[in-house]
Symmetry: C2
Subunit: 611 residues, 2 copies
């Protein structure tokens, strides 16, 4: 049983968190005070009595993690920083102002924030990744606390994360559902029928605790139970009221996402007793470090014989295993297609470092981001088309300034009989538009293998597009593939063909056939789609009368538009430009049939040169 002093401290802290949530948003003139106020008691008990976090050393490896999946409620999070004396009152009051790192939704510009949130339903998957790292990789006892809103419990991504967290027995993970009943425009999907949240979490394998989220003693008991529990993650479903703690805001409609006008703020602060100046620092973590791992060495990448046929996806699998042998911090994440993406090669070599996410791309990407939070290098692979399922997570990873390594196999119509549902034809557009992304599209096994260590070392989101079919090895094993480079594989002045992946194979065939007829065509392997080798492209546009881009992708946002943008940036215009790409909804068929039918095979390229 808590003492009266403890209870008083928690309640005092909660009042101050509420007051500061109101103060900072009223100063900003916008924001979400009431969504944080519902969580104030939960956060007060957490900060005062359960969190183990050194605000003076936010990168201490054994700090607990607090991930606010309901990012819009960040005023209460910032108020916790203020209560820990980790930020000044000026910093608190800078919320939402241009230049302040205390933005409308939290981002890792703040050293205490692991992941940007604000697109709902994403925090739990990242939290699961962080917890997985603690439990399965680092062997550290830090705990991961994830605060969710009840509105976001409608997002399916939450249940993917629940299933994966239970699969891996992540008893170092505690989810706190701040079920304040009210969403943006009225009641949430289940309102205060909280047994629904309990039943769902239990059905997904979590220990569940239902609690009155405004009773600090009950919250204390719930946390005590949660931290004592082993074998599964724990979900605390807290019955709260939006705006709770202030009479005219509590459970009141019309206050979502609104700063209080100054007069209302004054009234609310008076009701709270105008609290300020209370400093409650969390306990510091035990001073533990991660288990030592072998120092990285240079990877012995696979070596392929020139001219032999190897699928790029297979080379990815080979190279990932080689990278895994060289670096203990490399992991693979599979969405139940590891025998198609060839992460199974890595999985056989390093079964403890191959994490099965099943067919759940959103949690796969979220867990990869969680591993990155802990400085681990996770490669997430699935069919390129299915990364569309996690596009919002990838977008938000960029807001998080996270490093994600994504490998999408089965690009384009060249996959054949499986048909359009399995063909990635918009992935280059999607991935190029991610802020700061690296987009790689190797055309052979050697370049694919060489690019993997580049991705491991890259800061930001990197994406490798892999062809399904076995294609000829074009490069010797010592060739280098710098980011932003290209390879000119055939020299000529009659025209230039820019291609990558399967269309590069076709372009080379076309060029060789034309060469036999005395027509010399330049062929550029655009393995680095973003950044792009603008200088080489500009040179080709100046030196050859016809620039042809051939890609196994739809017309929009892919290689051709990247090339045109690069040329425009160089101030060079191609004298003539032809874009060969997929312009119809493709059908099932054999690879050669489809490449021909959609006009991206050697014959089409040859015709474009001659046309």
């Amino acid at each position: 049983m808590p003492t009266q002093e403890q209870i008083a401290l928690w309640n005092d802290l909660a009042r101050q968190l509420r007051a500061d949530s109101i103060r900072c948003t009223t100063a900003a003139g916008s924001g979400h005070p009431t969504s944080g106020m519902s969580a104030a008691d939960l956060m007060a008990v957490l900060q005062a009595s359960y969190l183990r976090y050194d605000y003076d050393d936010p990168h201490h490896p054994n700090n607990d993690h607090l991930i606010f999946s309901k990012g819009h409620a960040c005023p209460v999070l910032y108020a916790m920083y203020r209560a820990a004396d980790a930020i000044t009152d000026e910093e608190l009051l800078s919320v939402r102002k241009f230049g302040s790192i205390y933005e409308g939704h939290p981002t890792p510009l703040i050293p205490h924030v692991d992941a940007a949130t604000g697109s709902l339903g994403q925090g739990l998957a990242i939290a699961a990744g962080v917890a997985l790292a603690g439990k399965r990789i680092e062997g550290l006892p830090y705990r991961v606390w994830c605060v969710l809103g009840d509105s976001e419990m409608a997002e399916g991504s939450v249940y993917e994360a629940m299933a994966v967290a239970a699969d891996h027995g992540l008893d170092n993970l505690v989810a706190i559902i701040d079920a304040n009943r009210l969403g943006q425009r009225g009641a949430t999907q289940v309102g205060h029928d909280l047994e629904v949240h309990v039943a769902r979490a239990a059905a997904f394998g979590w220990r569940t605790i239902l609690v009155d989220g405004h009773d600090v003693s009950a919250i204390d008991a719930a946390y005590a139970e949660a931290v004592a529990h082993t074998g599964s993650p724990v979900c605390i479903v807290a019955r709260t009221f939006k705006g709770g703690g202030v009479s005219f805001l509590s459970d009141a409609a019309g206050w979502h996402g609104k700063a209080l006008p100054p007069a209302d703020a004054e009234k609310a602060l008076a009701e709270l007793g105008n609290p300020s100046g209370l400093v409650v620092k969390p306990a510091k973590p035990e001073d533990l470090r991660p288990a030592a791992v072998a120092a990285p060495v240079a990877p012995s990448l696979p070596r392929y014989e020139l001219g032999s046929k190897v699928a790029v996806r297979k080379a990815f699998g080979d190279a990932l295993a080689a990278l895994g042998a060289a670096r203990a911090d490399v992991f693979a994440l599979d969405a139940e297609v590891g025998n198609s993406t060839y992460t199974e090669i890595f999985g056989k070599a390093f079964p403890d470092r191959h994490f099965q996410m099943y067919i759940a791309e959103q949690v796969m990407v979220g867990v990869a981001q969680g591993l990155d939070v802990r400085g681990q290098i996770g490669f997430a692979a699935t069919f390129a088309a299915f990364f569309c399922r996690a596009y919002d997570q990838i977008r938000m990873a960029a807001v998080s300034r996270a490093s994600l390594r994504l490998v999408g196999t089965h690009a384009g119509v060249s996959i054949g009989e499986d048909g359009p549902s399995q063909m990635a034809l918009e992935d280059l557009a999607m991935m190029r538009a991610i802020h700061g992304s690296l987009v790689l599209y190797p055309s052979d096994a050697t370049s694919a293998a060489a690019l993997l260590p580049v991705m491991a070392d890259h800061d930001g989101v990197s994406y490798l597009r892999a062809t399904r079919e076995a294609t000829p090895v074009l490069y010797g094993p010592d060739e280098a593939f710098p980011i932003g480079g290209s390879k000119t594989l055939r020299e000529g002045d009659a025209a230039t063909v820019v291609a990558a992946g399967i269309t590069l194979v076709e372009a080379l065939a076309a060029a060789d056939a034309l060469s036999a007829e005395g027509v010399r065509v330049r062929v550029i392997d655009l393995y680095s789609v973003k950044p792009i080798d603008a200088a080489t492209l500009a040179k080709a546009a100046r030196e050859t009368p016809h620039l042809i881009v051939a890609e196994d992708h739809y017309a929009q946002g892919g290689m051709a538009e990247a090339v045109l943008a690069a040329l425009a940036g160089e101030g060079v215009a191609p004298r003539r430009f032809t874009h060969l790409c997929v312009r119809e909804m493709p059908r099932s068929g054999r690879t050669a049939e489809l490449l021909g039918a959609y006009g991206i095979d050697a014959a089409a390229i040859r015709a474009a040169v001659q046309g």
Copy 2:
């Protein structure tokens, strides 16, 4: 209790469905026979005794719907068509061959298929939309059957659909989980621990029935219970074996997604008794038609005063309500942000036609597609950034040849203080790359309103990007905005600025300021980003020395690349090209601060003209 004759018929039919699943995939040399075989008994009882479907009249409005969410199992679906004598044996054996409509995964090129599947976890949301139409719109007693695999139960999208279907009491919807235990590379996430599926479905508000999926009498009893149940959707969890019915395939590893080699096929067919020629047609539906609705009239679109300030998102809400008044087949779908997207205006006018999907964008898009299956016009609206969450659904809608109407509000940095998580900066790239899409980006209230009826009538995926801020009304109420058009709002030869949305407002301000100094700049409102007005852009590139594109979007895949591609298609190169867009990860701040900081405001445009 079923008779012995019934039992014999079901078992005979199931044997033939298995045999035909094997035959067609062996003929193709690829495909998924075993994933269909597990469902053969389930499908035999359904086809013989529960489905109400007229194969001679696939568009009968009261036909049941059968949606194969586990699309890869389509050989058994095609075998059902063969058993109904709806297709010939040649057609069955054309599976996966180029030109055949019987593709590797089903698409609506087949008249009996409602939606393309093959990206897992998507079928149930579409099925919910079809069921919603039957129950809440058309008043027809057709039933919707949705067949899911157990692997796809890892996808969060399934649980979004479950929640929404339960919310709406869709007791005309039956989900059948063909839990065959084996995924692509081993056991599925829950394997044969089927109580997990039962508990999850129950927690999401469904009636559940656990059944032996290879016992036709038990299946019959389950279906009888399902069709008798009222008040909620029903989930049948069927314990099956992959490859079930053939001894050496049943529950055997290594057979996922593999056609049987001819010798194995022969052996399997012999074990099945080489069944063929059995014709079992489902019962025909009652000959009922949808409830009569008022004939559509021309909408009385809102009229805005020139120069007054109205947000495009608000105009969308006004126009949607006007469209709803004119057409009884128009519906709105909200992801719990209707007071931000202004679908609440429609919702207040037509509460029975405004469907709340809560914060679950994937099911919102899936339900919109389900409404389209039934010929209803659903507008789905949320923040543009959050359509990223449903990108795979949107991609698959294009494979389905479906018409979706999507409205994304809060585009770009101009939204201000909420910060980057809420700013759509890659949505144009994402939506342009959808096959056959229409991408609209109105700059004022009048054009936004005028474009809504265009979207309602458009075949395919259409997307309207809406600005959050109130901006000046630029057009009189009678202006027409044809698809693929543009508006030249200022004439001049010094330079051309192409813009839309908030940057058009800035471009006009820049042009007017420059005009006062005697510099005449042409300003083009690119309200139709795809298709694009290539002729007008080419004319501008020829007639003015400097083409500037200004957009509140990242550099890749947006308006600038669309313009460059259009010009390349016209064989015209701009003499000079400048691209103003967002090139940093934006921060929170006021609209004007952010437009200035990221170089897309009037000052930046003016500097580009002068630079």
